[in-house]
């Protein structure tokens, strides 16, 4: 094989590697989500409703679950839980209400992003219903009470006695103009 030919072959292979590695960079994105889901790391919890599998309640353990609500930068809603914490047994289904109100004179869309601490407990924190599964649309001055219903898995590691469920509320009006359009109040 001549020098030119072997150069051309080698270059072709190396360029293919480059393209493959560029694609690999993007493949890391779904891979990352799968890993976080599978291993319950990074404080990420389920983002679709959990189907309860067992009725078992572990009465011998009592846990505290605390609730936090934070506004992301630039978010002007008032947002918070109705109570700071609950005590419960693993396996029990419990509910907490969060209130939100839009004090501005604009209709707005918000998205709440949950996170559970300690992060190793995240995989055992199951939400059967959550306002974070969808976006919230509020008209100027409107307010709403939003439920999250959840079960802490009895398989939760024994050393965890205290969990925190934290929500950060983001203003996503700019990203979701279609939601605003649908919800616009019927005038004239």
């Amino acid at each position: 094989m001549s020098e030119q030919q072997s150069n051309a072959r080698l270059v072709k292979r190396l360029l293919l590697t480059v393209v493959a590695m560029f694609a690999f960079g993007f493949a890391l994105v779904p891979l990352y989500d799968v890993m976080c889901d599978a291993l319950g790391i990074n404080g990420k919890t389920n983002d679709t409703a959990y189907q309860q599998e067992s009725e078992y309640i572990d009465e011998s353990r009592t846990l505290r679950v605390q609730f936090l609500a934070t506004n992301a930068e630039g978010m002007s809603w008032s947002f918070g839980p109705e109570a700071d914490e609950l005590t419960l047994h693993p396996g029990e289904t419990r509910e907490m209400l969060f209130h939100a109100s839009n004090p501005t004179d604009q209709p707005m869309v918000a998205q709440a992003i949950p996170s559970v601490a300690p992060s190793k407990a995240a995989a055992y924190f199951h939400k059967t219903e959550c306002f974070c599964f969808t976006q919230q649309v509020l008209q100027p001055g409107e307010s709403v009470l939003m439920p999250v219903r959840f079960i802490v898995d009895p398989a939760l590691p024994k050393d965890v006695k205290h969990l925190t469920l934290a929500y950060t509320l983001f203003d996503v009006s700019d990203r979701m103009p279609e939601k605003l359009a649908i919800s616009a109040p019927q005038s004239n």
Partner: protein, 527 residues
């Protein structure tokens, strides 16, 4: 790929073209090597000036000279320019000059691509520097450009930053392809892989690292671009993305990148120490395998930069042990360098001084790396000046001393003249003292909790910071002496023999000094 197909040997018989167009259109590896080296030196001075601004502001506690916004732009562009504009192009320049001479090839395998990959660099860094003058200022989010600082909260000029990284990345990838093709396809008959000089070996492995991770860097800046302009949410939690993922992807590139900046220096030092010890390199084969092992391990340790983001305990343990494992092949290398010197007939010309300082000071940087690798301890050290001390100990007396050592070692071959030994030694000692004064105290203030990337600090850190600044000014000023030494050496000086170093081995010393414009047009026979 026209560069591959219509590259003729016939037009290689003449000397360099005349005038400016020689440099614009050249496909000669020596011309391109020189341009890379000059470019990187200009970038070194530009990035260095930014470091001077940083150290001037930190000379005393309180805000004196610059606003915090501008300070942030200085730390960011200093890091970016030094990493992508100074260290990486300097090694590519050395590769261009020396690899064809060391493997007995007439030129690089893809000479036109070589020209293109060089000329992308001035564009990339012109663009990057121009962002400093734009509305809202230049990049201010740190050289690691963590999202969302670099997306949601970035200045408008971030788009130009992204484009500059793309250009520099393409240039590096093309440079790496060229180097691999040259090494694999153009070696002189008889030069088997295990006969290659170590500089060639380390560059071969570095080039593969570049091919593997520069596309990932291109990917991550592309994701930023999409988040900023096309409404995607790779790193935006509100849209279901995750800023921590940015750090994973960045460091998947970033850790191999730090080895990209050090492996060629390992190679250069492995050429220089045997020469001035007048002994063959101790443990050649283990050097090759150690380099390969380091390169492999560099892919599985990235999260040691992220111990504090909340990864699970098993992850902390895995990345902690994997990181510590790198110390083993690195230790093999240090052992081999020391063994090469052991009972050698040592002389201490400037390249050797830089090489010995490299071994000692790089090892200090390795030790602070090991301290940082202890996951529970890193919670204390992370984002403090201790990290700054660590990476400056591996990068300044590591990468940069490696480049200085190479420059002094090969200047006689490049210019045909000997450099001024007294001035060279002065440059060495001033750099050595300056950099230790500048960076050693950073260990202490870091351990005591001084955060990095902050323009002001608690007065309890004042004395050490003043020492650091004085050392930094000394180191900075000394580099102008280096410029003078190089110009003086180009203009004249004692004639250099084909092999000016008594103990030097290798094909590059068989051609006259200065190396003629075309060398090895008929391949040498290697026995």
């Amino acid at each position: 790929m026209s560069a591959v197909i219509d590259h003729h040997h016939a037009d290689h018989a003449h000397g360099p073209a005349k005038g400016l167009m020689r440099w614009v259109l050249t496909t000669n590896h020596k011309d391109i090597g020189s341009m890379y080296l000059w470019f990187s030196f200009i970038m070194f001075l530009a990035g260095g000036s930014m470091a001077m601004v940083i150290r001037a502001e930190l000379f005393q506690p309180g805000l004196q000279l610059v606003q915090p916004e501008f300070f942030n732009q200085m730390t960011t562009t200093h890091g970016l320019i030094m990493v992508f504009g100074a260290v990486m192009p300097a090694f590519v320049g050395l590769a261009n000059w020396m690899i064809p001479l060391m493997v007995g090839a007439p030129d690089m395998a893809l000479p036109r691509m070589n020209n293109f990959s060089f000329w992308l660099l001035p564009m990339a860094f012109g663009l990057l520097l121009s962002t400093l003058f734009m509305e809202g200022g230049g990049p201010n989010f740190g050289w690691t450009f963590y999202a969302p600082l670099s997306t949601t909260y970035a200045p408008p000029s971030v788009t130009f930053f992204i484009f500059a990284i793309h250009l520099a990345g393409i240039s590096s990838i093309m440079g790496a392809i060229n180097i691999i093709a040259t090494i694999l396809n153009l070696r002189a008959p008889g030069m088997t892989l295990m006969k290659m000089p170590l500089f060639v070996w380390t560059w071969l492995i570095t080039a593969f690292l570049l091919i593997a991770v520069m596309p990932v860097l291109a990917g991550v800046v592309t994701m930023m671009l999409m988040d900023i302009h096309f409404g995607t949410s790779f790193f935006n939690a509100a849209g279901g993305g995750d800023p921590v993922m940015f750090q994973h992807i960045f460091w998947f590139f970033g850790h191999p990148e730090v080895y990209i900046m050090i492996l060629p220096a390992f190679g250069a030092v492995s050429q220089i120490i045997p020469t001035f010890s007048r002994k063959p390199l101790f443990g050649y084969t283990s050097m090759v395998y150690a380099t390969a092992a380091i390169a492999f391990l560099s892919f599985i340790v990235w999260a040691h930069h992220m111990f504090t983001v909340g990864i699970p305990i098993t992850g902390e343990l895995f990345f902690m042990y994997a990181t510590m494992l790198i110390a083993v092949p690195t230790g093999v290398k240090v052992f081999n360098w020391v063994s090469t010197m052991f009972r050698g007939a040592l002389t201490f010309e400037t390249p050797m001084l830089f090489a010995i300082a490299f071994v000692i000071l790089f090892t200090i940087g390795g030790f602070s790396g090991l301290m940082l690798a202890i996951a529970p301890a890193d919670f204390q050290y992370h984002d403090t000046y201790f990290v700054v001390a660590h990476f400056h100990y591996v990068l300044v007396p590591g990468a940069i001393f490696g480049i200085f050592a190479s420059a002094y070692y090969w200047l006689p071959k490049w210019t045909g003249h000997m450099y001024d030994e007294t001035l060279g030694k002065t440059h060495f000692w001033m750099s050595f003292i300056g950099m230790n004064l500048a960076f050693f105290p950073m260990h202490f203030v870091g351990l005591a909790g001084m955060p990095r990337r902050i323009p002001d600090y608690n007065i309890m850190f004042a004395n050490f910071n003043m020492v650091s600044s004085i050392g930094a000014f000394m180191f900075g000023a000394t580099q102008l002496l280096f410029l003078f030494i190089v110009i003086k050496c180009i203009k004249g000086g004692p004639k250099a023999a084909a092999n000016p170093w008594e103990g030097a081995e290798g094909l590059e010393w068989t051609v006259p000094s200065p190396a003629p414009y075309h060398t090895f047009t008929t391949p040498p026979e290697v026995k």
